[in-house]
């Protein structure tokens, strides 16, 4: 055979970077993703540099100038202790982002591991674990959060643990579904045919292929985590005053809406909404890119 047949005349872009770059390009071309990234980027900036850039000390009260409507001095007005709502909203991004991210990371790590194991081994282990997962899913997340926070006392660590653990089965389900279809692919058997141990097959071979769904799931869950954390602090669990937590701010002020003092409620509510929408837009953009 003299000719090296069917070597691609196409320039096989000479590295794996190319496909990553291709995916990145797809993601970046998605307007949904970009809008989401800008929103989330803004809040991340606030979380990182908020305390340095805000006009006022978010904790300093001025009780005699309470509930001032928005003005050039206080862009978002003042709250019921006379604190600057704008500063509190900006600075408030840090806590919720850290807590939500940690919780989601925890849930994603545990859930991915659990999903890999159950999806790969199937059989009795899988059945048993999935039943436990089902049982967990039967209780709404807020109720679980509420129980745990009452039992263990409110603290950020508890919030991270609770949400992380509640997310674990949900993420495990998604990962499991991905693994179930992945394990039918022959490369898994090829791995077995060179005597690979199960952990390597799981984490070395299958995991890289389900990272897409995992990443999407992570973003989606991040949105839910923000939602759940805000709900828990709204219910008075989880975060200590005088933290400029958004849910707490809404809880502290929504009763004043009737009196026409809408600003201390509206701005944190908008903050939650924009952040969750932003995260969801990113998730959407990623989903589109990975489904292609």
């Amino acid at each position: 055979m003299s000719t090296v047949d069917e070597i691609a005349p196409i320039v096989v872009h000479d590295s794996a970077r190319a496909s990553r770059r291709e995916r990145l390009r797809l993601v970046l071309r998605s307007r949904t993703f970009l809008v989401g990234a800008v929103i989330v980027g803004f809040w991340v900036f606030c979380a990182l540099f908020g305390p340095a850039v805000v006009p006022d000390d978010p904790y300093a009260d001025d009780i005699l100038n309470r509930l001032q409507p928005p003005s050039s001095e206080h862009w978002f007005g003042t709250d019921r202790l006379g604190r600057d709502v704008f500063s509190r909203v900006i600075v408030g991004a840090r806590d919720i982002l850290i807590v939500a991210t940690l919780a989601t990371v925890l849930g994603t790590l545990l859930g991915t591991a659990l999903g890999l194991v159950t999806g790969y081994f199937r059989g009795l282990t899988d059945e048993a674990i999935m039943r436990v997962v089902d049982a967990f899913l039967a209780i709404p997340i807020v109720v679980i959060g509420l129980l745990a926070l009452t039992a263990l006392g409110p603290s950020r660590v508890t919030v991270v643990l609770v949400i992380g653990i509640v997310f674990t089965p949900i993420i495990a389900r998604t990962v499991r579904a991905a693994v179930l279809s992945e394990r039918e692919l022959e490369y898994v058997e090829a791995a077995r045919l060179r005597n690979e141990h199960a952990p390597y097959v799981l984490f070395g071979e299958i995991l890289p292929n389900v990272l897409g769904p995992v990443l999407v799931e992570f973003t989606v869950r991040l949105g839910y985590a923000i939602f759940a954390i805000a709900t828990l602090s709204f219910l008075g669990f989880g975060i200590q005053p005088p933290a400029p937590d958004w849910g707490l701010q809404i809880f502290e002020h929504y009763g004043l809406l009737g009196a026409g003092d809408w600003w201390p409620t509206l701005f944190p509510a908008l903050a939650i909404a924009t952040l969750v929408v932003g995260v969801n837009l990113i998730a959407d953009g990623l989903t589109q890119a990975f489904e292609r």
Binding site: D5, I7, A8, V12, Y187, L193, N209
Partner: protein, 684 residues
């Protein structure tokens, strides 16, 4: 109704004039069809062939005026039965689809609505054409009977998933014929069906055409099928019609280098690996929408000259009714062979004991509360350097047997797998590294067989580490050697599977299988996902590797041509049982098992038009409830009688090296198989 008579006055069933179609991909319009012109006369059957990606299906969709959202006709015209398709309003298009043209597609399972009963779906087609509901149902039943669905009334009440693939395709054909269309478009209608089923569907289409005089646009990658079904053929390459002519002339005397190459790639005419390697077409199809100033085939053509790259060849009239888009069509048949005559072996290296032997292999799956006997007492042996071909319809147990041998599936108790006389554990966990590396596999689909996250280098390196224990420099060197041995350009080692063509991917998979110097490699349909030109290259490679390394193959394929080319011996499986084993030539030629006979006769061939078709009744029975006696008796065209139902015949050595599982004595088989079978068929 005579097709010939109609053609005198009627306008052509289909007339494409300089049709160009482009798709918008990643923000750019890319040309997919480049000025295709063709005409199908009323009642004529026209075949469109070419490798994947050349624009066959796009042509079909354009004819249905159903291009995807990102596609559009950029030039030319389409006339169906005289009507200008591109000028039609939406309303007219509806009428056009319901009255003038119908289409049948690949993958019938997906083309039927899963939540509607089959009868309703077929009847719907009559309703659109103007029948009342009641009338439509009645005519649907008739039409289903006409496509040889025995119990039409019952089938109408079924949901699609309750029908087999062949039945589904029949229903779709019935639906397509409902409007009594001027043109029937068939897009790979039998791809994915078993050879026996394919043969029946093709028979059906041929029969209906003779009966109804419908014009047909038949699209297929399978040259033999087109040869059998069509009067005229067009060869499509990169969106260009490169050659056109009457089927028998074109296949007999191709006048375009591409056609010539395609035909040379096919293992046919009983040729085997020992005689000569298959020819291939080097290179790849140009990228979608690439600018091709000269001949579209120039980059891959062995006859290429400067003019080819600069000047687009016109359609040269070659003979009456024949055209070729090649500047040098006169020389087409002089296209140089890419492969040299093989110097090398093919002969089985050394006799001696078998490398791999399996005795009494059984495998029972538990499914929906039933025991499914996928394998029932299979005993086979593979000699050193030998290729054992494994054939049979889907569901016959080929793949299960392979998996049992490899240790991927634990067999039932009593199964004995021996490697060089040593008994192997049932599962991989019970086998040592040496034993594991001795048995490897090349999977059918290289896309799923290679981890898409890893580079070719990493895939090969990992195999070397685990199977041979190589590390560092020595491993890198060995990776390069492996790549070279499968003719994989080492510059591509850093690429991930997604960046490689199907053939290249399969090379990586083969290299991986050979990383640990295996004794036996299972090849499970290794080329059925590939185009013919690539298939040829891969088959050549397998032969070459075997010659060098003395490895044995267990070669599974539904393509008897390929098996015939590659295998030294062949085992025929049916319902988890071996029906026949013997040398390739022995098995392929009569006398053979009636099942083998049917399989062989189902293959459409280029030559020897006259070979009689042996029909098989129905589908392969469920392995959960195998028939009593000889499991083949329910479909056997040569059934003796009651003994076949009562008693399972043994697998007996009827002549040296030739084993048969049949009550009919060999001599009698020799006799009857010289004549067409007795119970043959309702002629279409």
């Amino acid at each position: 109704m005579s097709a010939v008579a109609a053609s005198v006055t009627a306008p052509p069933a289909l007339e494409l004039d300089d049709l160009s179609v482009a798709f918008r991909v990643r923000g750019r319009w890319r040309r997919v069809l480049r000025g295709v012109s063709l005409t199908i006369a009323p009642g004529e059957s026209y075949g469109l062939v070419g490798e994947s990606g050349c624009g066959k299906s796009t042509t079909a969709l354009a004819v249905m005026r159903y291009l995807p959202r990102n596609g559009r006709v950029t030039g030319g015209s389409i006339h169906v039965a005289g009507a200008d398709l591109l000028a039609m309003s939406e309303r007219e298009v509806l009428r056009y689809r319901s009255r003038s043209v119908s289409m049948v597609y690949q993958n019938p399972g997906a083309a039927l609505n899963p939540s509607l009963r089959v009868g309703e779906q077929v009847a719907e087609a009559f309703e659109v054409a103007g029948a009342s509901r009641q009338e439509a149902l009645e005519r649907a039943r008739e039409m289903l009977a006409r496509v040889q669905i025995a119990d039409a009334a019952r089938v109408m009440r079924r949901y699609p998933h309750q029908l087999s693939g062949g039945m589904q395709q029949r229903a779709l054909i019935a639906m397509a014929l409902a409007s009594d269309p001027a043109l029937l478009v068939l897009d790979e209608p039998t791809t994915g069906l078993d050879a026996t089923v394919e043969a029946e569907v093709l028979d059906l289409i041929a029969g209906l055409r003779a009966e109804l005089g419908t014009s047909i646009l038949f699209i297929s990658h399978n040259l033999a099928v087109v040869r059998r079904m069509c009067e005229r053929v067009g060869v499509l390459y990169a969106g260009r019609l490169v050659e056109e002519g009457r089927a028998n002339e074109l296949f007999h005397d191709p006048r375009h280098p591409y056609t010539v190459g395609l035909l040379r790639c096919l293992p046919r005419g009983g040729v085997s690996k020992g005689e000569r390697p298959l020819d291939t077409i080097p290179g790849l199809l140009p990228e979608l929408g690439a600018e091709l100033p000269g001949c579209v085939f120039a980059d891959r053509c062995g006859l290429v000259r400067d003019v080819c790259r600069q000047e687009e060849p016109p359609l040269y009239p070659v003979a009456r009714g024949r055209t070729s888009r090649c500047h040098f069509w006169q020389e087409a048949h002089e296209l140089p062979f890419t492969a040299e005559t093989r110097t090398a072996p093919s002969a089985r290296t050394g006799r001696g004991g078998p490398v791999l032997a399996v005795a009494d292999a059984s495998k029972t799956f538990r499914q929906e509360g039933q025991d499914v006997h996928a394998l029932a007492g299979v005993s086979l042996a593979v000699g050193p350097g030998e290729t054992l071909g494994l054939v049979g319809e889907s569901g016959s147990g080929k793949t299960t047997l392979a998996r049992v041998l490899l240790g991927l599936t634990a067999p039932d108790q009593g199964t004995i797998v021996e490697l060089d006389g040593q008994v192997l554990g049932g599962t991989l966990g019970e086998r040592g590294t040496e034993e594991v590396r001795a048995l490897q596999i090349v999977f059918q689909n290289p896309d799923s067989a290679l981890n898409r996250r890893f580079s070719a280098r990493r895939i090969l390196a990992r195999a070397l580490t685990k199977l041979v224990g190589l590390e560092g420099r020595r491993r890198s060197e060995r990776v390069l050697e492996l790549a070279r041995s499968v003719r994989f350009d080492e510059r591509l080692l850093g690429a991930r599977p997604v960046q490689l063509s199907g053939g290249l991917k399969q090379r990586v998979a083969i290299a991986r299988a050979f990383a640990g110097d295996p004794r036996v490699v299972v090849c499970d349909e290794p080329t059925s996902a590939l185009d013919v030109s690539v298939q040829a290259a891969i088959l050549n490679l397998l032969v070459e590797l075997q010659g060098k390394q003395g490895v044995s193959y267990l070669f599974i394929s539904h393509d008897l041509g390929v098996v015939r080319y590659l295998a030294d011996r062949i085992a025929v499986l049916y319902l988890g049982r071996v029906m026949e084993v013997g040398d390739a030539a022995t098995v392929f030629a009569a006398p053979h098992h009636p099942y083998t006979e049917a399989l062989v006769s189902a293959v459409p061939a280029f030559e020897g038009e006259g070979r009689p078709r042996i029909r098989l009744e129905g589908e392969i029975p469920s392995a959960a409830e195998p028939p009593s006696g000889c499991v083949f008796h329910t479909r056997c065209p040569r059934k003796l009688g009651e003994i076949c139902e009562r008693e399972e015949p043994p697998l007996a050595e009827v002549e040296p090296g030739h084993l048969l599982r049949c009550h009919i004595p060999l001599e009698e088989l020799r006799l009857v198989q010289a004549t067409p079978p007795p119970n043959q068929p309702r002629s279409p």
